[in-house]
């Protein structure tokens, strides 16, 4: 087997040193009835060519986003990732190293984590950020737990702007950890929520997403004021992180914790994962933060270096008293984010955001001219919701048959909730004018 270097000669020599007659002897502590005599019922080994062929065949059964006019968003977005990003993250020294527990020989990882934390803090307008979470949705759950620790309260209010699957993740965690939730109904654009009315003296935090699930931008300032007046925190969720190149960051609107999905920068769609959760907060809450943190220090020669720090919050030290059970972060996806963001820089990031906004505005204009289509949003970034004359799921199906991946029917995430005629569509820099024209033309045909 090509990945196994030991030869039969090696094995018998090693058994000799150990003083065992056979490998079976080394498994003698396994209860006899649990030792498998033969092979499990699975195919035998295969060469690289055969595995490549089998998996390529599966891959070929999928319609890849780059092969068609593509407008699917709702929490994951297709952007152009510069070629150098994927090349650099595949360097062995990044790809095949472990968590940087030995800082003397992992300064590469530690320094990019420090750069990542700085970039995330800068774009969200917050003081500090951690070295990432699994993804936006799990980061959102952790943010609610953190708010409970900070406020010593147990009840969170979830705005109807929140992605339904994010809301489910928070609900799942809250249910099992015995915390309370006030889940507001889905907030369609044009129908502002009265979140303040839901904030009570026992509210720990309000969770608001902007751009919201339906694409609408939300004014966080009055919500922050209402929350702070009651001693509660505002958690702002940003699933499309490119938006912050164009939109006022949550940190400037009073957010106490910002959770983001960083997939859009540096990371592909990957059918939903791995992604990279962004997590930022105010300096005063840093010791209540979950996840890994990288900090600056000096070495024995006085040279600047970086280490994992404040680990007394973490499970490997604190065990059952830790702030979170989290062990892993999303290292390589952070690196992709950091490199892409470094390539973009100040001007590139802002321009990328403007291009995205322009693309969505153009798409909205084109689609609003399709008979029977109503665009619901007033203020949006690169994604919006439209009402169709019939079932959005059927329309998306028919569009797919015409070679257009035309968005996410709301009913896929919120079935049976009376939203069957709503379709969420996104347009980014990868869409050409021709793509948007093809979408509009196909929509006319299928309606």
């Amino acid at each position: 087997m090509r990945y196994l270097p030991l030869t039969e000669t090696d094995r018998s020599e090693m058994l000799g040193v150990i003083g065992a007659k056979s490998v079976d002897e080394l498994f003698r502590d396994v209860p006899e009835r649990a030792r498998l005599a033969g092979l499990v019922d699975l195919p035998r080994r295969q060469g690289e060519m055969e595995v490549d062929r089998a998996l390529s065949k599966m891959a070929a059964r999928n319609v890849s986003a780059g092969s068609v006019p593509f407008f699917v968003g709702a929490g994951a977005y297709r952007h152009h990732v510069p070629a150098s990003v994927d090349h650099l993250i595949q360097r062995s020294e990044f790809l095949t190293s472990y968590t940087p527990y030995q800082p003397e020989i992992t300064q590469g990882t530690l320094q990019y984590l420090f750069e990542f934390q700085t970039q995330v803090a800068m774009i969200t307008g917050m003081d500090v950020a951690n070295a990432s979470m699994y993804d936006g949705s799990t980061g959102c759950g952790e943010a609610v737990l953190m708010a409970h620790r900070v406020t010593k309260r147990k009840k969170a209010v979830l705005s109807g702007t929140l992605h339904p699957q994010y809301a489910e993740v928070v609900k799942n965690l809250s249910d099992f950890a015995d915390y309370e939730l006030d889940v507001m109904p889905p907030a369609l654009p044009g129908r502002p929520e009265d979140i303040a009315a839901h904030i009570a003296d026992d509210t720990s935090c309000v969770v608001v997403q902007s751009p919201g699930f339906f694409g609408e931008l939300v004014d966080l300032r009055p919500i922050a004021e209402a929350a702070h007046a009651k001693g509660a925190l505002l958690i702002a969720v940003v699933p499309e992180i490119v938006s912050l190149g164009a939109v006022t960051p949550p940190g400037d609107m009073g957010a106490d914790i910002v959770v983001g999905e960083g997939q859009s920068i540096g990371n592909g769609l990957n059918f939903g994962g791995p992604y990279v959760g962004l997590f930022a907060t105010r300096q005063k809450f840093v010791r209540q933060m979950p996840g890994r943190l990288c900090g600056e220090t000096v070495d024995a020669d006085g040279k600047r270096g970086f280490v994992l720090t404040l680990s007394t919050r973490e499970q490997h030290i604190r065990r059952e008293k830790a702030t979170s059970n989290i062990c892993t972060n999303s290292g390589l996806c952070c690196l992709a984010f950091t490199i892409h963001m470094s390539l973009l820089g100040e001007e590139g990031y802002k321009r990328l955001a403007r291009i995205n906004h322009a693309a969505a505005v153009d798409l909205a204009e084109r689609l609003s001219k399709v008979p029977g289509v109503e665009i619901l949003n007033r203020a949006f970034f690169n994604e919006f919701t439209m009402r169709l004359p019939g079932s959005a799921a059927d329309v998306v199906d028919a569009l797919a048959d015409k070679g257009v991946l035309g968005g996410v029917p709301v009913s896929r995430l919120l079935p049976g909730a009376g939203f069957d005629d709503l379709l969420i569509v996104a347009s980014t820099e990868v869409n050409t004018d021709a793509d948007r024209a093809a979408f509009a033309a196909a929509l006319v045909e299928v309606l």
Binding site: G19, F27, R45, G108, T138, G273, N325, G345, H357, L413
Partner: protein, 525 residues
């Protein structure tokens, strides 16, 4: 400006321990100093070419961002050089043996990387119409089949994002089952051996359970009698790692499982060490109810400097009905995801909820499946055998030079304690740091906690005998040096790495967690 204008001046090894000459740049040949990307800022430069959109009327509703963000401006060649230079400061499994116990740092095949980057895998959206992702769903279904066969368990949840997330998923299923039985209130305790990973007690505590420690015997295994005495009608579950963190197989595991079930509780197994038994022992045959599998350990997906991982959880028949959404089913019209509570109701199942948005770590699924298919049933069995053989070879070769707290055979990792360092003035940490100068990543230190000054070595099956022999010879030499009073080789180590020991205390005392621009200079006087 120390370090400048000292070309050619030799510096003795004794002074500050620095073995190399000072250089003008601070670089040392291939070891290059590198600033933070923010310090490379050169306004006007940019690493991408993007055209300004044609003028349009913005619809941001007055939320336009104002002012500078502070991101640096750097061209592509400078960015490439920056990150290549950073990469050179990392140790990696591709560069050398990485004996971190409990972490399974094995070879990461590049075929897996290639497969993950196929457009039909890497460039598909989780919410595309299901008829356009039939191959992806087939892939998930195939992976699920392999995991179920290898563990002998009837159900699997693929979505957990990492090992600890899988633990959380497994314990949630246990609690959901107890709720369904009407025994949630009554069962408030979770038993965890002293030797467990820190994530186990942290996970149980997150779910509101009272965590109780089970003692370990002098043989490094769960004290069966003490364990049975702790069991009661108020116990929800036991969380056990097997093979355990001492690198030993829990001989009494079937008795433990029987006792757990007799008490009406569930058996959670931490599957971090599955590499030792894959293809040879099926956890389902041991009476386990739930176990997570770290795809980034046993199934070779790269650790990536600390993630992303993936932690699918297999379930027994008792817990299978509570496995979370989403999951893949195969119907008359192909594969389909059961995503929402409404879907599950129609499908007649009772999932406890959802662990994450979307469907899990697809990028890791494809890598793990490529690895499994490459090995096959025969190759995977060989994986366990060679992993165990390499570890026992290390144990047998070093037990007289280092000190081993428990009798072998071990499983996939060899545990040593610090008795061999007694009286030398060298501690476990120093010993490990000296390994860095010899070109090795240290083993896991001070874990498990049940052994004093623990050194836990996991060579994995992808190391050749030649590589393991050199590693053994190196540790023998270090042990000899420690015992013969060559203290300086250890207490100041490492001397030769890109950075020497870092001041972690200072880092924690006044944390600097982000770069800030230097304060503006005072106006010239």
């Amino acid at each position: 400006m120390s370090g400048m204008n000292k070309q050619g001046r030799p510096t003795s090894i004794a002074v500050g321990g620095s073995a190399a000459r000072e250089t003008f740049t601070g670089n040392r040949a291939l070891q290059l100093e590198e600033a933070l990307v923010f310090e490379l800022d050169n306004p006007g430069a940019c690493g991408v070419d993007l055209d300004e959109p044609t003028p349009f009327t913005a619809r941001l509703g007055g939320f336009e961002r104002q002012g500078r963000i502070g991101l640096p401006s750097v061209s592509e060649p400078e960015i490439v050089r920056h990150y290549v230079r950073l990469s050179a400061k990392n140790y990696s499994i591709d560069a050398g043996l990485y004996p971190l116990g409990s972490c399974t740092m094995k070879h990461n095949p590049r075929l897996n990387e290639k497969m993950a980057r196929l457009p039909g895998i890497g460039d598909i959206h989780p919410l595309q119409p299901m008829k356009t992702v039939q191959g992806a769903l087939e892939l998930m279904d195939t992976l699920a089949h392999w995991l179920k066969e290898l563990t002998g368990m009837p159900a699997v949840a693929l979505s957990p994002k990492a090992g600890a997330h899988g633990e959380l998923c497994g314990m949630m299923a246990i609690r959901a089952a107890l709720i369904a039985r009407g025994e949630d209130e009554a069962r408030s305790r979770v038993l965890v051996p002293e030797s467990a990973h820190g994530t186990n007690p942290a996970t149980a505590a997150l779910l509101g359970y009272k965590v109780e420690s089970i003692p370990v015997t002098t043989e490094g295994r769960v004290d069966l009698a003490a364990f049975k005495a702790t069991l009661g009608p108020d116990v929800a579950a036991i969380m056990l790692t097997n093979p355990n963190t001492c690198g030993l197989f829990e001989r009494d595991i079937i008795d433990i499982a029987d006792a757990v079930h007799e008490a009406g509780a569930y058996f959670y197994c931490d599957g971090a060490n599955f590499n030792a038994i894959v293809g040879r022992v099926r956890p389902g045959d041991l009476g386990i109810d739930a176990m997570h599998i770290n795809l980034h350990k046993t199934f070779s997906t790269p650790h990536g400097g600390g993630g992303p991982g993936a932690g699918p959880v297999v379930f027994s028949a008792a817990l299978a009905p509570f496995a979370p959404r989403p999951y893949v089913v195969h119907g008359a019209d192909g594969f389909r995801l059961v995503e929402t509570a409404e879907d599950a109701k129609a499908d007649g199942t009772t999932p406890f909820g959802r662990m994450t948005a979307f469907h899990g770590q697809m990028g890791m699924f494809v890598r793990a499946l490529a690895y499994m298919m490459s090995h096959g049933s025969d190759g995977l069995r060989q994986v366990a055998e060679d992993a165990v053989l390499n570890a026992n070879y290390v144990l047998a070769s070093l037990k007289d030079d280092l000190s081993a707290p428990f009798e072998g055979p071990c499983m996939h990792e060899a545990l040593f304690d610090d008795r061999f360092l007694k009286g030398t003035g060298v501690e476990t940490l120093d010993f490990a740091k000296a390994m860095i100068d010899e070109g090795y990543h240290p083993m896991t230190m001070y874990f498990p906690l049940v052994v004093h000054g623990a050194l836990l070595i996991e060579p994995t099956e992808t190391e050749s005998k030649q590589a393991v022999d050199l590693f053994i010879a190196t540790l023998k030499d270090l042990a000899r040096a420690a015992k013969s009073n060559d203290k300086e080789r250890f207490t100041g180590a490492p001397y030769l790495s890109p950075r020497r020991r870092l001041d972690e205390t200072a880092a924690a005392r006044s944390p600097v967690l982000r770069w800030a621009p230097p304060a503006p200079k005072q106006a010239a006087e």
